[in-house]
Symmetry: C2
């Protein structure tokens, strides 16, 4: 029996228990398990560090395997929640001058996981990225072990090739001829969207790279009022300014209204502004709405504006023969953001920007650093892709997606996605006519987002509409806080426009089942009935 309790053992319930457990074990481990006496300097590259290293890493892996098994267990809490001030007291998190023992390091690992949120838990619905894929996890462990950098082929030969293969496949799925085009894996959808805006600006005014915004006319970008805040964030960073992002009206279900887009483009042109970028959203963050891409692409074509599709959330529906029609027209886009770390459950982070025009990224971003991109290397330099990035060093995000794709096949991703959408339809059908529920918008969910209010009995029959609204606004936050207190489940909520706080249920976790949806409803009612 190893100190950690071996594979499959329960994690220690509290830190105190962990400490007691450690004490009990010391008698046995003096000889067998060296971590109590060892420090990190005893591990590789230390002389004769092999065995000690493997023992230490195996101990860590045992802790992780136990955590994984526990995470999928519905009897376990999703979170053992503590307020920041409490959590600061629960362990000694301070950094010291002197080294700790490896034993202490293992204790720190256990403590960190004890208070971590179990994102793999079948009842964790809090974000667009949920779940934990075992092959993806294995791939991420391998990536950490390979510990390299995407900038050149010479230091990441396999990963550079796999990025090439995978981006091409994704472009084929988008529908670009022969999968031609370009792309990059970037640190998240916000940065992918920023790349798109950068490319659109450069395409229209290449001189902006050298001369800056003072050399170009006043630019304006367009996106729907339901789009992700990263469009404005990007505009602020790129020196375009948030006021130059014009928010287009969305209909009741959250889709951009093309007529309003055209109207606002004309209005901007009349003011002498130059429309350069439209970001349509495929799967909005809150409603899960799909903007009408064909109509939008017609407008973009008419006015020669770069069309970007922010499919960070909804792009993965392209993998589903049943649902990909929601993105019809995506093949007309100039660029597409698509985050496999969301609906495809690839471990964080994994976000792709796909670009239709070849060579543009390189021209837009390259700076020819000669210490990195030497022109007299022995191999084909087109594989040194680092200079098309904004980053210099770039984390290897590709391997987990590639290995998962290999393991599931396209059909496996499709099945996983279809199942999540089925679950959300189940939820929708279950609550749409149920007493105490109101849907935020009518109609079946397009993505897995189901937006709804739960009205506790005390609010249900309030006559004064304003009073009712005021009370209702407080319901979701309290239920959510109680969920976290009990640790039974987690789901997001927010207000939107003039709509008071409502729940936004999203399902991207392949571990979730119909029973988990039932549980969520029961839990909301259990925690909210007295409000």
């Amino acid at each position: 029996q190893r100190f950690s309790g071996g594979i499959g053992s329960k994690l220690c319930g509290t830190l105190e228990e962990a400490a007691r457990g450690a004490e009990r074990c010391h008698y046995f481990i003096g000889v067998l398990f060296p971590s109590f006496y060892l420090h990190s300097v005893d591990l590789l590259p230390a002389m004769d560090g092999d065995t000690k290293t493997m023992t230490f890493l195996q101990e860590v892996v045992d802790i992780l395997l136990a955590y994984i098994v526990e995470s999928f267990d519905r009897e376990t809490k999703v979170i053992d929640f503590h307020y920041p001030n409490e959590l600061l007291q629960l362990n000694n998190w301070e950094l010291q001058d002197e080294p700790a023992t490896l034993d202490d390091i293992l204790i720190s690992c256990r403590a960190t996981l004890k208070y971590a949120i179990k994102t793999a838990h079948p009842r964790y619905f809090n974000q667009l990225s949920t779940g934990l894929d075992m092959v993806g996890l294995a791939a991420d462990w391998l990536t950490s072990t390979a510990n390299t950098n995407m900038f050149t082929y010479e230091v990441a030969p396999v990963f550079v090739l796999l990025e090439y293969v995978t981006l091409k496949k994704m472009r084929e799925i988008i529908g670009w001829p022969d999968g031609r085009g370009d792309g990059i894996f970037s640190p998240g959808g916000a940065i992918s969207n920023m790349y798109a805006m950068l490319l659109a600006r450069f395409k229209m005014f290449p001189e902006v790279k050298e001369k800056g915004m003072s050399s170009v006319p006043r630019l304006v970008a367009f996106t729907s009022e339901h789009s992700h805040f990263s469009i404005k964030k990007g505009a602020a960073a790129l020196g375009i300014g948030t006021e130059s992002v014009i928010c287009i009206k969305a209909d009741e279900s959250g889709k951009m209204i093309p007529a309003d887009l055209e109207r606002r483009i004309l209005e901007a042109k009349q003011k002498g502004l130059v429309p350069f970028f439209v970001s349509a959203t495929a799967g909005t963050t809150v409603y899960g709405a799909f903007d009408p891409l064909i109509a939008i692409s017609d407008i973009c074509k008419k006015y020669s504006i770069w069309m970007h599709v922010d499919g960070a959330w909804g792009g993965s529906l392209l993998m589903s023969r049943r649902h990909r029609w929601k993105l019809d027209g995506v093949e007309r886009a100039n660029s597409v953001t698509w985050n496999p770390h969301k609906m495809m459950s690839v471990p964080l982070q994994c976000s792709a920007l796909l670009v239709r025009e070849e060579g543009l990224m390189q021209n837009c971003n390259q700076m020819h650093a000669c210490y990195l991109f030497q022109q007299d290397k022995q191999y084909d330099l087109s594989y040194d892709t680092g200079d098309k990035a904004l980053q210099c060093g770039r984390h290897v995000d590709i391997f987990k997606l590639w290995l998962m794709w290999r393991a599931k096949g396209t059909v496996g991703f499709e099945a996983q996605i279809d199942k999540c959408l089925e679950l959300s339809e189940y939820l929708y059908n279950k609550i749409k006519d149920r007493e105490g529920y109101e849907m935020v918008f009518d109609g079946k969910p397009q993505h897995t987002n189901v937006c709804f209010w739960y009205l506790p009995p005390g609010i249900r029959y309030m006559e004064d509409k304003e009073d009712r609204k005021k009370h209702l606004h407080k319901v979701a936050p309290v239920i959510k806080a109680r969920m976290m207190e009990y640790g039974t489940t987690m789901v997001g909520y927010q207000p939107q426009g003039d709509k008071v706080n409502f729940f936004r249920m999203v399902i991207s976790n392949p571990a979730a089942t119909f029973e988990d949806i039932d549980f969520l409803i029961e839990e909301i009612e259990r925690l909210g009935q007295d409000l």
Copy 2:
């Protein structure tokens, strides 16, 4: 005996051997090892997936442990190099519609590692980030397993606290009173530098966030001609333009000349331009030079310009009592980039931007996304740090640094850094008067960069200076290509200004020893003597 050969076994020599090995094993593993018949859908969250999952992950870990041990073995190649076209043929890397077996997944893992570069290898000197720290690796495996996102406390309570603790500690080490200030871990030094430029612009002209660059005068930034290309990349992205980055002259050893900085500032002001940002470099990429920070800070103060210190490479010397004087004056900076993934050997990626002024990042970048940063949460919202980032989702980069710091203590990092500098001094002393070597600049290395030419006998006595230069330019690339062909070691080279290709040796790998330095020199001479 497990299929993978168990801990410590050699990796299969070729893919063919792996396949044969697999075949030989099938007889035994039918019952014992299920991966041959299993697919990813049989793993968790599948019913009864626990054992299968743990077996599969343990198989992967065995592969990784074997790879790790092999990586530190000097008898192993640093790289089994293949040209891109060859590598594409060596395995089936294509993505399929149908799922592969878990057996195939394990084979893919082995193939990926077989052709990967062994960045932990004691003779891998190719980049500023080298080596593989065992505690850092363990921490990264844990991070992958926790699979969460830094944007809010509710989904990353421990990691958010650890980021807070660690950034504070880093600011204390910089020398800011009580460690006050702000900061963030970003996806690499280039993005950290871009953040700094963004903050400097916002500090001077807060209206730029809403109104863009058209609302501000023509801005100019300053950095030395030896600085990292990310300063220009950032300026291009932010709409400032590369021409507005003025390159200040450096002296022979690569340090910025303060008098030239002041001259260029005055010149810019006379032209009506507005100097807003000076990026001093602490540890240049090629020479490892430290700009004179005190003199530069005096100038920045005099002209009210934001002073940034790009210490991506050299910032870690702040951990060394012996070497931190090289950054004297860093405490006067407004912002500092410091990449623990370089000189501190934290696994990639781990880059921090530290900012002196509190609250500025938040004001500069926040967009108040109400689906994420709800204002009616139950806990102290100052721990929801996501809105100060350019990213929305943000990878957890903190845990590996925190756990390594815990394991080594500050003194452990110091010892590791001091040792690398000692090795580079050893190299410098060894070659400075050796026949066939010329140093690119005089004097002891300030960082671990040692820049030198190796002159093969055939070139050593050439009379015609131009001819000699022309020949010499080709030497480093050929030796490097041969190093990769043999797989014995890897070191960088590049031209700089009018200087033809020279080797840039850097040492950040804690596994390297004096013998490895000797080996490098022997290897250069062995591979280059016929040129």
